[in-house]
């Protein structure tokens, strides 16, 4: 068992995701045919041997709770430790307004943090898709004797105005943190994943709370770049970050590239998700499917091209689906025609209807709606 404890921030609803963020917290956004975004960070931690994980939630977390349940699909339903859901403590001031920053969120669950039985803590967001070897990050952290290890990427994936960047010395010591610049700087993109010791974390929380500092990277780490030993770890694999409906669409289409799938779905570090006991997907004699990622439990009788099809989707005979993302339980009836559309869960597209978006403006159809 590793001496690392996981904390996942899952309190954020990203309004820029429009229809897709209405029924849920960004962490429970469906992605990749059968996953929710939270599955990636939960699995990354479990694959690194982390056995105790706290999930910090605030509002709109019903669908997230439905999804993670007791944590058994991640082997996190344990007698000691395992998965712990951390809603705001009801009498705290923080219960009435959303957290104003990660440090505010950590302060809201500080009693939980002080009871952590591991020596180190990994802090991460649950709203991106990546497969990162956290055990390697942890190993580097310990071997270098760093106070804080910040994970960054060798490529740029995020929108600059909502991304942080790190400039470093040649040996990886962090010199500066650039927060939300208007254009992407010549610096490594910070993936908002940090490892530090429990004692340093508690110290920072205590100090920041008394100085009314609410942000972790900007408020707690940036002023201490001189006194603390802060290094980066560079992740080289694919990362999907989501800031708009268009982002969601593009990052979904990325999965049709075998190279992207190879970086996300590694056989030795699988991404786990809630099990639904679906049968296999049936392709009828009339079906015609090309270049698509298709989950179990679907019945495909129509034509599907360049699409991501989630579990339990029906595409009837004569329907045509191209460049689409159809989430769980979508029914596309005979003769319907969909292009560049994202159908949220349980959408029904009636016979003969035509919904044509384009690559720049994919259409998002709200959960449970009928077209």
């Amino acid at each position: 068992m590793t001496n690392l404890h996981g904390i996942i921030f899952a309190y954020h609803s990203n309004d820029s995701l429009g229809e897709l963020s209405k029924p849920r917290n960004t962490c429970s956004l469906p992605y990749g045919g059968r996953y929710r975004l939270i599955d990636f960070m939960l699995s990354n931690m479990v694959n690194a041997g982390v056995s105790d994980i706290g999930l910090i939630v605030h509002e709109n977390y019903q669908s997230l709770l439905d999804h993670v349940g007791s944590g058994k699909d991640w082997d996190l339903s344990r007698k000691h430790g395992g998965l712990r859901i951390l809603p705001p403590f009801s009498t705290a001031e923080s219960a009435h307004h959303t957290y104003s920053g990660t440090l505010d969120a950590l302060t809201g669950v500080s009693t939980y943090l002080s009871s952590i039985r591991q020596e180190h803590v990994v802090l991460a967001w649950g709203d991106m898709a990546l497969n990162i070897p956290l055990s390697a990050v942890y190993q580097q952290h310990v071997e270098r004797g760093s106070d804080v290890t910040m994970v960054c990427s060798d490529r740029h994936y995020g929108v600059p105005s909502s991304t942080q960047y790190l400039t470093t010395t040649s040996d990886g010591r962090v010199l500066d943190v650039l927060t939300y610049p208007s254009t992407a700087p010549e610096a490594a993109e910070f993936l908002s994943i940090c490892i530090l010791s429990k004692s340093l974390l508690l110290e920072l929380i205590e100090d920041c709370a008394t100085h009314d500092v609410h942000t972790f990277t900007r408020g707690a780490l940036l002023p201490r770049l001189g006194e603390l030993n802060i290094h980066t770890y560079t992740h080289t694999g694919y990362v999907a970050r989501f800031d708009s409906v268009r982002d969601y669409f593009d990052r979904s289409m990325d999965l049709l590239d075998p190279d992207v799938r190879r970086q996300l779905f590694l056989p030795d570090s699988p991404i786990r998700t809630k099990d639904r006991s679906d049968p296999s997907t049936y392709y009828s004699p009339d079906s015609k499917v090309t270049n698509s990622l298709i989950a179990d439990g679907c019945v495909i009788e129509g034509k599907v091209e360049n699409s991501i099809i989630f579990r339990g989707v029906t595409v009837e005979k004569g329907a045509h689906v191209r460049n689409c993302v159809l989430m769980q339980g979508t029914v596309v009836k005979a003769g319907a025609d969909l292009a560049y559309a994202i159908a949220d869960k349980n959408v029904t597209v009636e016979t003969g209807h035509c919904l044509l978006g384009n690559a720049a403006f994919p259409i998002a159809i709200g959960k449970d709606s009928t077209v």
Binding site: K72, S280, V289, S292, I294
Partner: protein, 402 residues
């Protein structure tokens, strides 16, 4: 704690007529229908029938079966009271203990297990049948007629009746005679190998049967005839619906193909009676830019770049560009490389069909035609040929004919 009804699933048979497919696993653990193993059907039937206590009697190569069943969690059979229990033969004080000598002896050796739950009724099931059945209806029938034993029967054609155990019944479906594979059947009611017994009665007959040194300790050969001879009330319960014994290569292939026609077999998509399975963690399957898939089942983790028709693909299967798979079953992890052709075949787990190889042929009128089988982990070399009806247990070198 006392249970009204406990199911005992006979899963110890070798399944020798599945040849290479059961050389490493017990028959109930053989993959079936894209997502399942055979045992998922009786286990799911149990939980869908409200039976939460199931004993699984294992004997032949149980390792894979045991780890598959595990805590019983995929079937909701992980219970603090009851749940699924693996029951292998065990040693006893004094005598040495024995293997299970027959189906009845397997239950006899577990009288202690059944006594723990002190059930009113025991349901005896086999691990080699594909069907959906609500056992609670059969138990209700058993209670209503006050039978000592109820046997589930299927109406078959008189021609088929010669291959089954046949129940001859009176006007009220009370069984007065049992004939095993009769040359001239008197009825068309075939036993499905599913029994409900009143436990107190069965317990007595099991003990008497064990004391008989000439007995084969088998339900069909001994227990049922003994109960009939003693004048016990034996009732036939007529089952309507899909049921298939998958004990042979041909019937296993047939039943897999049946899953492609849910209207005439089992509807695996029916949410009111789901079949549960332990599912490996795999991403969705990918259908390549030039793939052609028709009338087939495809499962998570697979990558299809070639042509797949009338076939059942399990998880993590690869069909490369230019390869074709027709009327075949590709079990988990099977790979068919570029330009290879697989027809009327069963390719077992992790077997590899190298580029340009040809496995199986379409049916011809000859008597020795049959489905070709490639055993698990076997490699068929480049441009090698495997003829129809072949049973390939070892690697075939490139260019060779087997």
């Amino acid at each position: 704690m006392k249970k009204e009804c406990v199911a005992m699933l006979l899963a110890g048979g070798q399944g020798s007529r599945l040849y290479a497919l059961t050389s490493h696993v017990a028959k109930p653990a053989v993959p079936f229908g894209g997502k399942y193993r055979i045992i998922d059907f009786p286990l799911s039937n149990c939980i869908n029938s409200g039976i939460d206590t199931v004993g699984v009697l294992t004997q032949y190569r149980p390792l894979e079966l045991n780890s598959y069943i595990g805590s019983g969690q995929p079937w909701d059979l992980d219970r603090s009271d009851g749940g699924v229990h693996i029951l292998p033969p065990y040693m006893r004080e004094g005598d040495q203990g024995t293997w299970y000598k027959g189906t009845a002896n397997a239950i006899y050796q577990n009288i202690g297990f059944l006594d723990m739950y002190d059930p009113e009724y025991v349901v005896i099931l086999s691990g080699d049948h594909i069907y959906k059945m609500d056992y609670s209806k059969m138990v209700a029938h058993h209670k209503k007629v006050g039978a000592a034993c109820t046997i589930s029967v299927l109406e078959v054609t008189m021609e088929e009746a010669t291959r089954f155990g046949i129940m001859n019944v009176d006007a009220e479906d009370r069984i007065f005679e049992f004939e095993e594979k009769p040359a001239h059947p008197k009825s068309n009611l075939a036993s499905m190998g599913i029994y409900v017994f009143t436990w107190s009665k069965l317990r007595r007959y099991l003990i008497e049967d064990e004391a008989d040194p000439n007995s084969a300790n088998d339900f069909g050969k001994n227990i049922i005839p003994n109960m009939l001879n003693a004048g016990e009330l034996m009732s036939a319960y007529r089952f309507r619906g899909y049921w298939k014994d998958v004990g042979t290569i041909d019937s296993l292939w047939d039943a897999n193909m049946d899953m492609l026609a849910p209207r005439t077999s089992i509807d695996l998509y029916d949410p009111t009676f789901p079949i549960y399975a332990r599912t490996p963690i795999r991403p969705p399957h990918f259908t390549g830019p030039n793939a052609v898939i028709s009338h087939s089942l495809v499962t998570g983790g697979s990558e299809v770049y070639g042509t797949v028709e009338n076939s059942v693909l399990f998880h993590s299967v690869t069909v490369e560009e230019g390869a074709s798979v027709r009327y075949s079953i590709l079990m988990p992890g099977a790979t068919v490389k570029a330009g290879a052709s697989v027809e009327y075949s069963i390719i077992a787990e992790n077997a590899v069909i190298e580029a340009g190889a040809a496995v199986g042929t379409p049916p011809d009128a000859t008597d020795n035609w049959g489905v070709a089988v490639v055993a698990s982990g076997v490699t068929i070399g480049e441009k090698a040929t495997v003829s129809a009806n072949a049973m390939i247990r070892e690697d075939v070198k490139g260019g060779e004919r087997a």
